[in-house]
Symmetry: C2
Subunit: 288 residues, 2 copies
DNA sequence: TTGTAAATGGAACGCTTGTCTCATTTTTTA
DNA sequence: TAAAAAATGAGACAAGCGTTCCATTTACAA
């Protein structure tokens, strides 16, 4: 008989995720109009949080009283209690990504303690990842993969601050059983190494301002041999860009004078794995 | 005469950031009670978004009418219009960090196209950064800095997938003019290199599962010589942990079988720069 | 079909809301 | 200090709120 006024001792979903799960679970057994509101609520949670019972009911195409029955069906004692859950959801993702980042950066900039240094590097890395995720040119990306997938040997060229990226690329290519050659300077035999490269090979070259002269010079020589170059660099004015078949502009944030490598790393790894995948599929699995 | 009912042709802040800037700019010239609400609004934006004029006024310790005057002072035609801006703020950060990440990961997992591979690596890197930012043990961090700052020479020990981090540490230490030695295996002289290390030096060792046997063995030898080790590894069961004076547990997310290095990189750079700073200050600039 | 229970629509109600007005207090100006 | 202007507090009020109630419709069992 206590049709609507469900007593509060039955478990009432207090957080949005539980509520969502409860709704999805009972979806089948809900009356038509109630189900209609349930669907609307999950699709437009913000409207539930901010709207009035009347406005929400109108948007969902039901009567306000149905909205209240919906709430009661879920164990709430009225629409208002239900709405609180939807509002709490918005409150709880309080520290949005940007605000967290801003907080990190602020702490880092006011320069208090060693923790601030750590926060600074985390913030720089996050910013870089965010930027590249927005700005990556997908056409260039596909072109680069095509160039590299055709290569017999992939040469990897980077010095100084970019060298860690090159070494990880070489490691990953090796793991994927793709023939590659890391051009290191230890033994001073770079010129000879480069001499073996042919137009059937390809190069991944990485260099950021101030561009290591050796990288630029080696890129020039190797491009004159007709070897296609995929470059990762930091601006269209980069001397590397003029030698490259395809090039990526990656804006890495820096902190305390050291550039984050996270965006470059992510791009490098994606290139590597995509090349591996393309080779396995023999170019068959293409997007239409 | 049109004291309150400011006409709408004067520029009304429509987004939260503009509103915030406007308030901060006029702060000095605002009447006492109005300023009181202004401060409350910037400190408790969520309360403004969800509360009623009465409840907000009570929380801020003013009359509801003052709240309305505050809104009108800013060019809104009432509290309700002002509140819309605060609500929009919550709506707009709709795609919270976690949701964006989840979207990236979902795209990456459904595996459509090469872009998905890229997204996967970006997501893995972001997740790793987020995790380490939450879980970094500050005491360990300070201890590690202390150990490394005292060292005459810092030895950097890492192979295979961890090697890129080691090479960046070595690069950064060099830039900061801190004597360091990267233990590479190229010439097979590692044993001799290690032999020079003394208890007045220190080691940064990095190894993740599956732990490169060479790294573990060299860490064992070097710790038996009494050289303090700062380890970056992935679990408390790591064989590296038992040799270490201080160790960090870094949980790197992986994608397509390749582990992100972003968190490790951030930690490594922070350690390096913090050591550099501590040496410059001679330990004088300590937190109380 | 008929009877019963569930579901629904719509109007009515009491209450709280945002806003306005006006008397009072505080601040500024001369 | 006196006068004028600005700021403030507090109550009044209409509009809109969430909720309830009841008549009607729909679904289902016998």
């Amino acid at each position: 008989m206590s049709l609507g006024g469900a007593t509060m001792d039955e478990r009432v979903p207090r957080d949005f995720e539980t509520l969502r799960a409860t709704i999805l679970e009972r979806r089948q057994s809900l009356p038509k109009r109630i189900a209609q509101i349930a669907a609307y609520a999950l699709d437009n949670p913000d409207d539930i949080a901010f709207g009035t019972a009347a406005s929400i009911a109108a948007s969902a195409g039901v009567q306000p009283s149905t909205l209240i029955r919906f709430a009661q069906q879920l164990g709430f004692d009225g629409f208002t209690s239900l709405q609180l859950v939807f509002r709490e959801r918005l409150r709880e993702r309080n520290s949005s990504y940007d605000e967290r980042l801003a907080a990190l950066r602020a702490k880092a900039e006011e320069g208090a303690g060693h923790r601030a240094i750590f926060d600074g590097f985390v913030a720089a890395a996050s910013t870089s990842l965010n930027d590249i995720s927005r700005t990556l040119n997908e056409d260039h990306f596909e072109d680069a993969i095509a160039v590299l997938a055709k290569a017999e040997t992939i040469y990897v060229l980077a010095k100084r601050r970019s060298y860690p990226v090159a070494s990880y690329i070489a490691y990953a290519l090796g793991k994927l059983k793709i023939r590659n050659q890391l051009i290191e300077s230890a033994a001073g035999l770079n010129a000879e190494m480069i001499g073996f490269a042919s137009p059937r090979d390809a190069v991944i070259a990485i260099s950021f301002s101030p561009y290591a002269p050796a990288t630029i010079e080696e890129a020039r020589v190797i491009s004159e041999q007709g070897v296609p170059i995929v470059a990762i660099t930091d601006s269209s004015f980069s001397p590397l860009a003029q030698f490259a078949r395809v090039w990526f502009e990656v804006a890495e944030a820096d902190f305390a004078g050291f550039r984050s490598l996270s965006a470059t790393m992510a791009l490098a790894m994606a290139l590597t794995v995509a090349v591996g995948e393309k080779r396995r599929d023999g170019g068959r699995k293409r997007k239409a």
